[in-house]
Symmetry: C2
Subunit: 349 residues, 2 copies
């Protein structure tokens, strides 16, 4: 499916399903509203799927990897070789996302969107657009055509997973240097300053942070992305895994699947997705507030309230994996709890 | 075991186990510190159990029920008959705590600490001290002897569960009117005003909130609990389920089991426990920040940082059940993730 076809398919949430879900929440054996965000989450998911009650069985974390030419500017605490090394760590099941996905009963789909070395492994979905992006401090990250290609690759990944069974999807990323394009995207779209948005990523020191801010500033000056055009922003200062995640988010919305957005990089992808298709926004569930500076500004632009705030800043989909479990819990509450009349419990006087 | 024997058995956390856990966290394939509170939680649990790495298999939610004479003052939105009705809902598996405990793989132990009617059901642990407390607005909730009895009952419940297998315990409560004694405990111990601490509980209206504040104020004036003596506070303005939870917390600490403290009522019990045994404090894990007014003041007095903040205010152990899953996730991260050398991943430059 092409990008424009898909965007045109994204529908508003199902109000009738939400009303039915809300009414049932209010009839369950607890004070109304006393389960807070679990209640609103269950209602949102009802609106997304169009079913008031549901069982979440197939949980899928899609972790997309890519490399970034901007690493040449000295913006990262780790070398680019860590990207393919971590992809192999995902394959072996030893990374944080593997542990947390197992814990919550989700499967992990690992996608090579643009790692800067060849990865050939049957457990890695090969959607490589190129061997890493160009250095955004010197010119565009990718061509306009590659931006579309990366989004369409993300769409195809979700479509394939829906074939296998997918009730809810979580986004994740891996890519040394990818907080830089993410910060550039956020600064371009929100108009906020690079200083307010740029954090230490995987843990760069003070001098590195200054280099990073300078590189992002330069990327915005050199490329002048159009803040109103998500595709232009993605092509000029984005990344291949960010494009892939954008596609994954749009595909989930088009297919009425809830999508749990992880931290800084995934939220940058969500901003591109919502720029391209504002109707996708209600399909988003913000997993957590990342410790990465600027994430809160991104969440505010998207008008999303995160479920968790655990000072995490790892990426990979780790925050989203934990939030998958909360989303499942929310749906179970709505589906499995007894009502006042079923349980013979007296309601409020 | 008597209360004083037990208190004398509570030891400091195991520093060596914590150092081993910390060192391993720093060697796992992620930027150091990037899993935030999951990392510190795993280190705390190592210190609690004395084992750097562990599998959490047996998770137990202990939900204690009791009634409260202060309901006569019109402090609650629901009638006292709801307490035994909800106990039977717990038995049938239809309450929120049942759904969430099943979701996280925990078993629920339901304890009658002082429900105001006879409950005879094999699935309910009978530790009834009396048929509800006396009205604290007119005199002490219970005798000094009953306060000790309720704590020792809580200890015996945890001891029995440890026999069956218990790696981590979560506290929960049910008792119409029990936010009133909990607020009275918090006001007595912290010295903060009743207005700052008293919330709407299960959802009382403005006039009811004023009655509730007046009743708690009167309870403190009539009883004059000694803020330095947790037993005196419990006896004068507490409740039987609060005493039971105090015992459960102390027993967990004495047996080196992590204890996940739920919301407003459980935190009041934790305050009594820490008043009696300051050494118990490091064994506590605060599950969530309740929406109930005053809970934050209680958490600050205990110097605890909650894991979740989902606008919940149900009790029963619902917040604690969700947090059990986070504690388990934290331990799995420490136990199951690959190190940099194991995975062949380059460390920070």
């Amino acid at each position: 499916m092409t990008l424009q076809d898909l965007i045109s398919k994204i529908q508003p949430l199902d109000e009738a399903a939400m009303q039915t879900a809300r009414a049932r929440q209010d009839d369950l054996t607890k004070p109304r509203g006393s389960l807070g965000q679990l209640e609103s989450l269950s209602v949102q998911i009802a609106g997304i799927t169009g079913q008031a009650r549901q069982k979440i069985e197939h949980k899928v974390v899609i972790t997309m990897a890519g490399d970034h030419g901007v690493v040449a500017e000295g913006v990262s605490a780790y070398p680019s070789e860590v990207t393919p090394q971590m992809v192999m760590n995902f394959v072996s099941g030893g990374a944080a996302i593997n542990v947390l996905a197992r814990h919550v009963g989700a499967r992990v789909v690992i996608v090579d969107m643009g790692v800067a070395s060849e990865i050939e492994h049957p457990a890695v979905v090969n959607k490589k657009i190129a061997l890493g992006t160009n250095n955004i401090a010197q010119g565009p990250a990718m061509s306009h055509q590659q931006a579309i290609q990366s989004i369409e690759a993300g769409i195809s990944v979700v479509e394939a997973e829906i074939e296998k069974g997918l009730d809810i999807v979580a986004t994740g990323d891996m890519g040394i240097g990818n907080t830089s394009p993410s910060a550039a995207i956020a600064a371009a779209i929100t108009g906020r300053s690079v200083q307010e948005i740029t954090g230490r990523g995987a843990g760069i020191d003070d001098a590195g942070l200054q280099r990073k801010i300078n590189a992002i500033q330069k990327a915005l000056e050199v490329n002048r992305p159009n803040p109103k055009d998500g595709l232009d922003v993605l092509a000029k200062v984005g990344g291949f895994e960010i494009g892939g995640l954008t596609g994954a988010i749009l595909a989930a919305a088009a297919r009425r699947k809830p999508v749990v957005v992880d931290g800084f990089i995934s939220t940058a992808a969500a901003m591109i997705a919502v720029s391209l298709a504002p109707a996708a926004r209600p399909y988003l569930i913000a997993a957590h507030r990342s410790q990465e500076l600027g994430h809160q500004i991104m969440l505010e632009w998207l008008d999303l309230q995160p479920l968790l705030d655990l000072d995490m800043r790892l990426g990979e989909g780790t925050g989203a994996a934990l939030a998958l479990s909360l989303a499942e819990a929310a749906c179970k509450i709505l589906d499995e709890m007894a009502t006042f009349s079923e349980a013979g419990v007296s309601d409020k006087e």
